[in-house]
Every structure is written in structure tokens, then in C-alpha cells.
Symmetry: none
Subunit: 216 residues, 4 copies
């Protein structure tokens, strides 16, 4: 129910602060996302979130009726943001294997630079601790990869005995594991680099002899 709000506000002047209200809401979501990313759902307490941005609990509650609503908003927002990433590369033109790699790079970059993306994936994985219906993590990503790999297989770009779903899961698991295993949470700069290295190791065994692309 917090979502709706007609943003058209439009002059009036009666609600002079609703302009800054959206910004405030944004700041709340961002601060909460940083917390969720680093300490998880249970590790975040709302007092710290609002203290960090100079607000009070009342202000937070004005925008989000509860803590779970905050989590839901972050996850939903992330799902929406990832739709283009996982879908746009699925064009029939071009090598589907290149699309697979490209999607991986985009996801890695997103996780690397966007605390919201990291928070959303973490919240998805911790969703059994949150009393709300949250989507599983990486579902659409795995689906997109599977489709592309299947396509590549039918085109003969990868070995016939490759399991698309299994391979997709390998990729996703590696990516998530790499992000979470980092000893220093701030040192996630190398995620894209590591993903590239991963592909460099994996691709040769996917491709049948003779195939070649700009990767590796």
C-alpha cells in the first residue's frame, strides 16, 4: 500500500514537502539497502538506518508500515531493474553464447556497483526469515541463461551433452558465492574480473572443437 501514491503532486503548494518526500523515501531505501547488504535482514535495526540519514523512526514509519515492507520494496525494485539485464540480450541475432557471457558481465557489474542489487539478492536468499512472499533469488537469471544455452545447443554452438539448466546453475552459484565469500565486503571491485576469469575457464569446455568467438 505504500507504493501507489500519485506522484503527480503538481503545484498546489498545499503539500510543499512532497517533492522532498520522494527524495527522503529514496534515502531511506538506500540506507536500508546498504544495511541489508552488509548485515542481512536481522542484522539491521531501523534506528541505525534512520540515524544514518538524520531522520527519526516516525519518518520511516510514514513511508514504510513495517520492516518487511522495506525489504519487499527493495526486492521488487531490484526485480524490475534486472528485467532488461536478463532479457534484452536474448535477441535471435548474434551468438547466444555471447549473450550468456554478456548477461553475466552485466549482472556482475550490477552486483558490484549497486548496493540495492546486493541487498535484494541477500534478502531473497534470507526470505525464510522474513514473513513475506519474496521471490527466490536469481530465478529469472537462471531461466534466461537456460533458454540461451538451450538455443546455443540447438545451434550447435556448444556440446550436445551440456545440460543447460545445470550449467546455468553453475554460473549463478559461482557468481553469488564469489560475491559473498569476499573477506572484505568493500573489496567487491573484482567481481567482474573474476567472472571473466571464470568464463575463460569454462567456455573452452562448452564449445565444440573449432568454434570461436571474441571471448577468450
Amino acid at each position: 500500500m505504500p507504493v501507489g501514491r500519485p506522484v503527480e503532486v503538481r503545484r498546489t503548494g498545499v503539500t510543499p514537502r512532497s517533492q522532498g518526500a520522494q527524495a527522503t523515501r529514496e534515502r531511506i531505501v538506500h540506507a536500508a539497502a546498504c544495511g541489508f547488504d552488509q548485515r542481512g535482514y536481522l542484522g539491521v535495526n531501523l534506528k541505525d538506518v534512520v540515524d544514518e540519514i538524520g531522520l527519526t523512526k516516525g519518518a520511516l514509519y510514514y513511508f514504510f508500515p513495517s520492516k518487511v515492507d522495506l525489504a519487499v520494496e527493495i526486492v521488487n525494485r531490484h526485480s524490475a531493474a534486472w528485467v532488461p539485464i536478463t532479457s534484452q540480450a536474448c535477441t535471435p541475432s548474434g551468438d547466444p553464447l555471447d549473450a550468456v557471457v554478456e548477461i553475466g558481465r552485466r549482472v556482475a557489474r550490477s552486483l558490484q556497483i549497486d548496493p540495492m542489487a546486493r541487498a535484494a539478492t541477500r534478502l531473497s536468499i534470507e526470505r525464510h526469515l522474513i514473513q513475506a512472499e519474496l521471490p527466490g533469488p536469481f530465478d529469472d537469471w537462471i531461466a534466461a541463461l537456460s533458454r540461451l544455452l538451450q538455443l546455443a545447443k540447438s545451434l550447435g554452438h556448444i556440446h550436445a551433452d551440456i545440460d543447460p539448466i545445470g550449467t546455468a546453475e553453475i554460473v549463478v552459484a559461482f557468481c553469488y558465492g564469489t560475491q559473498r565469500i569476499s573477506p572484505d565486503p568493500e573489496d567487491q571491485a573484482g567481481l567482474v574480473v573474476k567472472v571473466d576469469r571464470f568464463w575463460a575457464s569454462l567456455l573452452p569446455s562448452l564449445r565444440p572443437p573449432g568454434a570461436r568467438s571474441e571471448w577468450v
Copy 2:
């Protein structure tokens, strides 16, 4: 009255009466480990742990003065248990690459069947939420893999341009990610299978042309 200690009360001479106490302590550690594995450090509350095994907070306090002591015990116990796993395969005899794969299988099996191992790795990764000095996760595992890969490289069993440390990190990240990403925490039965599939995908690109082993 607890459960039925199956142990035959062997008179080893070591603390005769502590037999039942040790069993109790074991039950506490096990229950706590299951909780930490599934819900993380913050997601576990001690009341539930002791309720589950029919004890009281007082009993728990007798064995573990605090929650962090429980976590530390679990992590230390796991570190000790993994030493043989990560070290014994490093014999000079045999293909080091086989040793790498074998270690991975053992680790995977350990994570698959042993809640303590899962709890310990999770606690290590969450160690910034726990005020105690906890070792980083998988440190020794990565070290062992790196050494073996370096050895394999010097023996010419893998490509000359393979980065041992980077590859080791890939393996570990994949393994951890696979374990954590599972939608159903109980359905971790497939971990070993997935790891095998992972190796099947990765090994061909590591080996130089002509090399062959019983794997793949």
C-alpha cells in the same frame, strides 16, 4: 532421562561421569549448529535451541557462558575436522589434479551431510556480526587447492597459463554459492552431484591436449 545414550560407557578412564555431560554438550552443539546453518547467527535464539533438546537456559549456560562461545566452539571444531580433508590428499604420489577433485568431493560431502560444517562456514562468513575472533572461511581449503594446482602446473598436467589461486577461488566460490543458493535448505543432497558436474565442465579446459585421467 535425556535420550538414550547408545554409548557403552567405556571405562577409558577419562572423566567417568562426564559421559552424560559430554552427550548433553554434544546435543547442545548439534542443535545450535542446525540453527546457525539454517537461520544464521542472529536468526538463532537460545531459547528455541534448548527447548528443542529439552533443556533449560541454565543448563546451556553451564556449558557455554554466551552465544558467541557456542559459535566459537562450532567453528573451531570444524577447523579441526577439516584439516585431514584438506591436507591428506596432498601426497606426492598420484596426480595432483586428482587430489584437487578429490578434496572438492570430500568437502562437498562434508557440507552435504554435516550440519556442523555448514554452520561453521556460515558463521565464518558472518563473523563481522559476532564479537569474537573467528577465522576466515575456506582459508585452508583455498591454500591446499592452490598448492596442488601449482604442483600440477609444474608437472605439466594443466595449462601453463592457469592461475592456481584464481582457479582455487573459483572452485570454492562455486561450492559455497551452490550450497547457499538452494531454495530448500533441506534439499542439499545434490551438492556432490553438482560439484562433479562442475568439474566435468571445468577440467577439460584445464588439461592440456592429450592429458587424461579417470575423471570425466
Copy 3:
């Protein structure tokens, strides 16, 4: 909804709504002071304090993040309240010995009628049980008395061989001991009377022959 604040909600312009809040805070401090006075720091449990004034633990936590904060507030408040008592009588005009007696009477009256004063002195003395930097008890009182006695000595109002500091300590020790030794904590009505009796016994031996004042 708590009780009925009797205060007439004067629109002084200073923090309009904090009117009731200040009153609540006052009630908390007062109830806590009564507890500390009668049962000491460890003898007070916060639940009883808030129950007594019809509040909840949350309300207390809003004003005082911890029990020690409550103690610190009480001690600080008392220190501030005693400054005029121990300093205002130090005027050059008049007999310094009269000032000494007068200060003693005021302190006694304060301890007799003000639970906060009693609580503060008790907390100061128990300060090694409280993890906070608390001032020692009666420090300023002893200092003021010493100064006055020194002055009286230099004026020849008391014997030349009187030790100002030692005498000041005697007075203070007597006063504190009398307050604490009372079998019935409620029957502290006689403190001023006892202090007067004390002075009646002590003064004659302080004064050199021939000196006289309105006391005794």
C-alpha cells in the same frame, strides 16, 4: 493517557509538546531515586520503577538508554543542586563558623526531605559497583567546610590547633552515618535535630574561651 498531568500546559513557546515528556522524565527520575535511596543501585530493578509510575520499559528506555544513565543523571542533578548550598554561605560577611553550621543544617534538611539527594549520595558511595565515572561523595561539601574553617581559624574564631580538613571530615562522616544508620528509612525526620545536637556538642570545643554566637 498516563495520569493526568496537573500542569496547565503553559504556552511558553519552549518545546510545546515536551511539556508532558519532561514531566514523565521527572517522574521516572523521582521513582528511580526513591528506589536507589532505599535499596541501592543493585537493589533496584527497572521493572518495578516503571510499574510504580504506570509506564513501560520502552518508555524508560526512550529517556534513559541504560540503568547507569539513570544513576548518572541523578548524581549530576544533585551535584548541581548542591552548589548553592555549599557555596552561598561563604560570604566574607558574618562569622564563618556560623556559615559552617548553616551549611550543615541546609545539607541535613536537603538529605531529610529530598530523596534525590539521598539517592545521589548513596550512588556516589556505591560508585564502584556502577560502570560509570561518578564523582566522589561530599567532595565539594568537605572543600567548602575546610575553607570556612580555615578562615575562622585565621580570624581567631576557633582554636589555633584545630585541623580544618579533619574537622570537616568529622562533620560529613557524622552526617552521612546518621542518615544511613537509621533503623527505619522513613524516619529520617530527625536528621536536622540530630545535626543540631551534634553541633551543640562540638562547637564549645572549637571555640576559644570567650567567643560566643547565636548557636548554643
Copy 4:
């Protein structure tokens, strides 16, 4: 060292450890008394007491069914120990005023060197925190002083308008206050000195003109 336990031990040999048992009991009482003296009844926890003397809670519980029993034992032991102090000086021979002073010195010395005495007085004063029937503090001391002062008055050794009970209370209050007010609990070495100084200040105003004794 307190009273005089019959040390003759009872040959037999059937209870070989009862020798050390009494010593153990003594050590418990002593350690507890030190704790009660410094931190009060509530400030002492039995675990620390037994840890300090290398025992376990079970051992303590064997000797003292509960914490209050420990306190009661200490208070009773002290009461017995003080009987000679407060009574022996009441002989008709000699100046009763000297006896008053002498009693004060003995009490002061006892409080100064004997943690058990300090603990007992403190426990007596805190007796409303302890669910047990404990005697009030200093009762017999005040009674003895009152009697002596009354005698001195009837003998004309002190002013006719001196109130024996009131003066006794002054002395006791001063003594207790001095002991408790010390900033450093270990620095109670000066108690006897301070008491002497107190008498030096007080005695001249008690004695009628012309009286004299070895004091002051």
C-alpha cells in the same frame, strides 16, 4: 582467627577430612565476608566467592544451604565477637568516660582490621534486602555507650545536660560514616586515628570545667 574454634580435632580418623573441612568453611566465610564488605549483599555472587578460593558451588552449598545462611553466619559470628568489646569496659572501676573512649577505639580497630566485622555491620544495615531476621546494627554498642555515659553523668564526670543516648548515637554514626565514606575501600587504615581526633574534639565539651583525664 575470629573466635576460638576447638582445634582439638577429635582423633578418630573416621572423618579424616573434617580437619580440612572446618578450614574450608572458614575460607568460605572469609571470602564471602570480604565480598559483602566491599560490594554489599546483592553485589556478591557466590560463583566469584568460590572461584576465589578454588572451590565449587557444590562445596559451598554443602556448608551453607543458601546465601542468606552465609550472611546470617557472618552477622552472628560478629555479634558474638563484639560482646567482650562492648561489655568488658563496663567495670565500675575507673572513669566511665575513659571506658567510652576505649570502647570506641576497640570498635574502630576491629572495623579497621577485620573484614568480618565490616561485612557484618554492612549486612545488618542492608538487612531489609535479606529475607532473614538480622539484628540491627550497633544496637549493643549504643546500649553500652548509653549506660556508661549515664554513669558518668551520675558521677558528675560530664555535664548534667548531656543526653546519653543522643551522644552515643553521635559517636556510632560518626564511626560508621567515617568507615563507609572512605573513597578508597582499602584505605581504612586511618579509622582509629580519625576516631581519636573525633574524641579530641568532642570530649572537652562533654566534661565539666576542671575535669581531666589521660585523653586529650
